[in-house]
């Protein structure tokens, strides 16, 4: 028998075979822990997981807490119920992962992807989310320099902000590779970027030194937790909304502490 025929038969078998409640529950718990970890909103998480569960002939109830998800899967008859708790994966924000996981839920629902195939796809997706760190570094540097212009900075200020961002973001990449706590990372990067951002003030470059120092740390602003927390409020996931908001507040406080320390070191006045 040809290998391709074997694959087709295997897939047909996979489609016709109904997965057990336990299998679906464990799959959904893993799926959800990745999706929440990469920065998806709670409503997206619930909708995607419901969609997958319904396709495999199950009902699902979900509790989302800040660091865990609690999944219960029920048979349509209600005779078989399985519950599991999974820790949220610490992947960092990734809309690429979010997009691929959302697409997987539609593939399961629309293309009736078999259970075994869906499990393999999930494994592939979670392994394939990589980026070229040098390209990201370059794009972030250009982005923050552009920010400086948008806030009224002149050319010397843009150049200084570019350099401050390059150094700060590179430090962020290095520290995160060494698994340093994100709060320490934000504090250290804000300090380094603000010290370098104060160059305009120190060497009297250009006419907008305050804009340079103010924008040099903007690449660290935790925008996604702020936006997601409001989305969670709209759909009444208040616990998660509060948790995401607090995360964002703590990171903003670390950012501010780094900035103030940098300014104090460089003896930069503000008003």
């Amino acid at each position: 028998m040809m290998a391709s025929e074997c694959k087709v038969m295997e897939r047909q078998h996979d489609i016709t075979q109904v997965p057990s409640g336990k299998e679906v529950c464990l799959f959904l718990a893993e799926y959800g822990s990745w999706l929440l970890g990469c920065g998806a909103t709670c409503i997206r998480l619930e909708k995607n997981m419901q969609r997958i569960a319904a396709t495999y002939g199950k009902r699902m109830e979900l509790t989302i807490s800040p660091r865990h998800i609690h999944v219960s899967v029920l048979d349509d008859s209600g005779s078989d119920t399985v519950t599991t708790i999974a820790s949220v994966k610490a992947t960092g924000v990734s809309f690429n992962l979010n997009t691929m996981l959302s697409q997987l839920s539609w593939e399961v629902a629309d293309r009736k992807l078999g259970f075994r195939e869906a499990r393999e796809r999930l494994r592939e997706i979670t392994r394939s989310d990589s980026q070229n760190k040098w390209v990201v570094l370059l794009l972030v540097t250009l982005a923050n320099a552009s920010f400086c212009h948008l806030f009224g900075g002149d050319l010397p200020a843009m150049a200084v902000v570019g350099a401050a961002t390059l150094a700060g973001y590179y430090l962020k990449q290095l520290l995160l590779e060494h698994r340093v706590d994100i709060r320490v990372v934000v504090l250290a990067c804000a300090f380094v970027s603000s010290v370098l951002g104060a160059s305009c003030h120190l060497f009297s470059l250009g006419t907008t030194p305050a804009v340079a120092i103010g924008t040099s740390i903007l690449y660290l602003v935790p925008g996604i937790p702020f936006l997601n927390s409001f989305s969670d409020v709209l759909y009444r996931y208040y616990i998660c909304a509060f948790s995401r908001f607090m995360d964002a507040v703590v990171l903003t406080a670390c950012l501010s502490a780094g900035l103030c320390a940098g300014m104090a070191l460089m003896r930069v006045g503000m008003f």
């Binding site: 990734s94 809309f95 690429n96 997009t99 539609w106 936006l227």
Partner: protein, 160 residues
């Protein structure tokens, strides 16, 4: 003024691409984010400009964010990404960075001040900039998220 708008749109687009990279957006969505950011930020620039309507930064941000949210909802099916993935990098060029910077600076100097006069001045800087910063952030988030909430069907089927 035309040149200013074009420059504003260009730099907003570059900023949006950089922030798309930070938030690990699929590459096919970079261009959409750049276009949304350029249009949204130019709209805010026009609304705030004295030659335009001379609107207050809060109202201008609210309207521009809503526009960004709508564009993100209707363009996300083309980019095959969730709507929130499209509007987040586009919103960032409107972040009230300088107000936030003045707020924290005011707070720090308020604590360190040694006279009532200096304290009052820095407290004013802290509270004035802080309130504007919070209002702008709220306007951005509310404006951009509401279209996703209103057009749920399109928003949640973008990756279909």
């Amino acid at each position: 003024m035309d040149q200013q708008i074009i420059l504003d749109a260009l730099f907003s687009a570059i900023a949006a691409i950089g922030f798309s990279a930070i938030s690990r957006l699929p590459r096919r969505a970079y261009l959409y984010c750049a276009v949304i950011a350029a249009l949204g930020h130019s709209l805010r620039f026009l609304l705030m400009s004295p030659d335009g309507t001379g609107m207050h930064i809060f109202l201008a941000t609210l309207i521009a964010s809503c526009f960004i949210g709508l564009l993100a909802v209707f363009l996300s099916p083309l980019a095959r990404t969730p709507a929130e993935a499209c509007f987040f990098p586009s919103l960032l060029p409107m972040i009230p960075g300088i107000y936030a910077y003045m707020t924290f600076g005011g707070l720090a100097l308020c604590i360190l001040s040694d006279s009532q006069e200096a304290y009052n001045f820095y407290y004013y800087q802290f509270s004035h900039n802080g309130f504007i910063c919070i209002a702008i952030l709220t306007g951005m988030v509310v404006g951009a998220t509401l279209p996703v909430f209103m057009f749920k069907k399109i928003s949640f089927q973008a990756t279909r």
